[in-house]
């Protein structure tokens, strides 16, 4: 007769050892959020080894599906995945209502602002924002002055980077009004999550994210040139070597639109055509994932191999629509950002629904002084850099880094802004053999043709290094599925 084995002690609930360290937690709140109770119970029924097992197969699936970005070396192409964390970030219906209305308001203000600065420039004449900040900006495109864009829409696709402070209040960190990327991960993360953790979401009502492609196609059709009832929409990509190529493929497929490169397009008589197996076919709307500077070697950078000669003239004449419009970069500039609350009030006569992070503008003497005085307490950012590069986090910087920054600030103050350190919210994250708090942000995506629609949720990026505040994928960031409860 066999002896009955001593029963193993049940593994501790998954979140029992979790401590958010006084940060606002997206799952626990400050002291337990009622809307995540159900999800917490389900998470607690899992143990770490089971989570790790499922996380591994989810990651393998990303490789198999080729949801990767490719890093090229001399000899080889290496596929990398954006690390995916399996514990979702959860937003309540109220949270989402704030974000959705706030993003719509912000997009409306951005479009009004862009239309104004490329036409009558009231906002400059009324002294709401310094004229040199706009007109002297590298991303201000003088060529766009007086150009009509359909529906007055400049920012068709907008990604708004939002963080949550230690009290749980949402604040806008940055607007991305050029070619914001990452939306494909929102949708793929959801699919992955539903395959890896069907039990976690079972019976919980989560807002659907699958309609993004159809909404994008709708928005693109709404901004077709006048008189075109059945517009041909294409997605213009820099090509397979671009790190976001997977997303371009994904969006083209979701829209049912051809995925073209510059070499596939040609301009004749100020109209844009694509080369097909059946000869030239006219193109009406271009969702372009190429920066302004590379769009048209005749109008902008002459060395661009990615662009289409003559495209800008066709655009200016209204024969083709570009999404986003040319010249939107001036609106998501980090220095212009500081004026967004005033811009919102100026055009919409409303208070901002989503607050900015308070910002010191170093081009103004008062802002520079404040920044230099508290360099070791502030986050200082160069205004012309993307991807988190050049950001100095005062409390974590070495004396030498601060000394170097001080010199740079004095030399070129207009290139910098500074902000108080926001104590970013955290979310439980599977790290090695434990569940630990990691900082997150959120990038909702807004689509605007004749009206604005916001994809429920958005991309939750997570800084996987302990204590890190930098969520960018180029610097050790990953992503999570974002659940908007309905």
């Amino acid at each position: 007769m066999k002896h009955a084995a001593t029963p193993k002690p049940a593994p501790p609930p998954l979140l029992s050892e979790y401590d958010a360290n006084d940060f606002y937690c997206e799952i626990m709140g400050l002291d337990g959020l009622p809307h995540t109770q159900d999800i917490r119970n389900r998470l607690n029924a899992l143990d770490v080894p089971a989570m790790r097992q499922r996380a591994r197969s989810a990651e393998q699936e990303l490789f198999d599906l080729g949801i990767t970005f490719t890093v090229y070396s001399d000899r080889d192409a290496i596929d990398r995945v954006l690390p995916f964390d399996v514990i979702p970030r959860v937003l309540s219906p109220d949270d989402w209502n704030t974000i959705e209305t706030g993003v719509k308001q912000r997009v409306a203000a951005l479009n009004a602002f862009l239309h104004d600065i490329y036409h009558d420039q009231h906002v400059l004449k009324d002294g709401i924002i310094p004229a040199e900040l706009v007109l002297g900006n590298d991303d201000f495109r003088e060529e766009m002055c007086g150009v009509h864009v359909p529906q007055g829409t400049y920012v068709h696709i907008c990604g708004t980077d939002i963080v949550r402070d230690e009290k749980g209040a949402f604040r806008v960190l940055e607007d991305n009004a050029r070619c914001p990327s990452g939306v494909s991960y929102v949708i793929e993360n959801r699919h992955l999550m539903m395959r890896a953790f069907p039990d976690l979401a079972d019976g919980i009502s989560i807002a659907d994210v699958d309609s993004y492609g159809a909404q994008l196609a709708r928005a693109m059709a709404a901004v077709a040139p006048r008189g075109v009832s059945y517009p041909t929409v294409v997605l213009l990509s820099p090509g397979v070597y671009n790190s976001a190529y997977f997303e371009h493929v994904y969006l083209a497929r979701e829209m049912g639109a051809p995925l073209v490169e510059g070499q596939d397009l040609i301009v004749e008589n100020d109209k844009v055509y694509m080369r097909t197996t059946n000869g030239l076919e006219e193109v009406h709307v271009i969702y372009r994932r190429i920066d302004d500077a590379f769009l048209d070697p005749e109008a902008f950078r002459p060395d661009s191999m990615l662009g289409v000669p003559g495209l800008f003239t066709a655009y200016r004449k209204g024969n083709v629509t570009l999404a986003n419009a040319i010249g939107t970069g001036v609106a998501d500039d980090k220095a212009v950002y500081a004026y967004m609350p005033r811009i919102i009030r100026y055009y919409l006569n409303e208070d901002p629904i989503l607050e900015n992070v308070p910002t010191n503008i170093c081009r103004e003497s008062e802002g520079l002084k404040l920044t230099l005085d508290k360099l070791d307490q502030l986050v200082t950012k160069p205004v012309g850099e993307a991807g988190g590069y050049g950001v100095v986090i005062g409390p974590r910087a070495s004396k030498r880094e601060l000394r170097e920054l001080r010199a740079k600030l004095k030399k070129d103050p207009a290139n910098y802004i500074s902000q108080p350190m926001v104590r970013l919210s955290v979310c439980p994250t599977l790290v090695g053999r434990a569940i630990e708090p990691r900082h997150v942000d959120l990038r909702p995506f807004a689509l605007t043709g004749d009206s604005t629609w916001v994809l429920p949720g958005g991309l939750t990026r997570v800084a996987l290094k302990r204590g890190s505040l930098v969520v960018n994928s180029s610097q050790g960031g990953g992503s999570k599925d974002t659940w908007v409860l309905v």
């Binding site: 490789f63 599906l65 080729g66 397979v240 994904y250 995925l259 080369r275 197996t277």
Partner: protein
């Protein structure tokens, strides 16, 4: 619905060609290794070099034609554009460009398959491992083909995929026949001849098909006629050309792309050669000239298609 982008037509054509090529190379290596051992002289690897007219190119970079270096050249060498490694990598890159036009299942399988092929190394070329490596490649290509059969939307992209596949397949069959035929005729020893015939048939997956068509004693002419003209053998040159013709017609009549005079001329020349045939008195020289002509004409069709649709 808008027409197919010219560049994508090319990508899909090459996707079909490269996978067909990799499958054929792998099968030939596998068969040469496995069944070539029946030959008293052992597997003849120069035969494979002759088959692809690669002797000169190979000898420029290699000192000898030892089995390991020939195998390396055809399996692993990324600098050889018709190695398995290069063909599968190129197939994947082409698929990546048209990923939005093929099914997710096709892409996923090819992506996993390509990463398996990337892990192949010297250790997979040994006597005891080559067969399973070759098998991995043949099975991977055939799996892709099966998934395409079941999931690939039958629009214009599919037509170009089929066209690429059939041009490559027809070309591969002519090469296998060409390189083997002289030995079929010259070997007077029946036992050796039988080994050669079987080897040839297996190189194009024709062994069982041929046996059911021609039970009993085989003559070289029957084998040649079977590989060139059998209307039920899927790798027969005439059947490939017939499928190619049908897909070209589809492109024009069902998908609205324009008829191209250059393609039509090249295709008719190919068809005419096939109909005329190598003549009744089949000598190695005559067959060689005939097959050479077919290869040139397949190449002409391919360039005419490129001119008409891919640029």
């Amino acid at each position: 619905m808008s027409s197919l982008l010219a560049r994508f037509a090319g990508n899909i054509f090459w996707l079909g060609r490269y996978l067909e090529r990799a499958e054929n190379i792998a099968r030939i290596l596998h068969i040469n290794e496995t069944y070539g051992r029946d030959d008293p002289q052992g597997p003849d690897w120069r035969r494979v070099l002759r088959l692809y007219s690669d002797e000169q190119r190979f000898l420029e970079a290699h000192d000898d034609t030892s089995p390991p270096s020939v195998l390396r050249f055809y399996v692993l060498d990324r600098n050889n554009p018709s190695s398995i490694a290069a063909a599968i990598a190129a197939a994947r890159e082409n698929a990546r460009s048209v990923r939005h036009l093929i099914s997710t299942e096709m892409w996923t399988q090819l992506n996993i398959f390509a990463s398996e092929v990337r892990t192949l190394g010297q250790r997979d070329l040994r006597v005891n491992t080559l067969s399973s490596a070759a098998n991995l490649v043949v099975t991977g290509c055939q799996t892709f083909e099966g998934i395409a059969e079941g999931t690939f939307f039958r629009g214009e992209p599919w037509c170009f995929y089929q066209i690429g596949k059939y041009i490559e397949r027809a070309d591969q069959t002519t090469r296998v026949l060409d390189i083997s035929f002289d030995r079929l005729l010259l070997d007077k020893d029946d036992a050796i001849a039988l080994v050669q015939w079987n080897l040839l048939l297996r190189s194009v997956s024709a062994y069982h098909a041929y046996r059911s068509r021609h039970p009993g004693i085989s003559r070289p002419h029957d084998i040649a006629a079977f590989l060139l003209y059998d209307s039920e053998f899927p790798r027969a040159v005439a059947l490939c050309v017939q499928r190619l013709t049908e897909r070209l017609q589809d492109i024009e009549t069902r998908h609205g792309s324009r008829r191209d005079a250059g393609v039509e001329t090249a295709r008719r020349a190919l068809e005419f050669s096939l109909e005329t045939g190598p003549g009744s008195e089949l000598t190695p020289d005559r067959l060689h000239g005939f097959l050479d002509g077919l290869q040139v004409e397949l190449g002409n069709v391919s360039s005419a298609i490129r001119q008409a649709y891919f640029v």
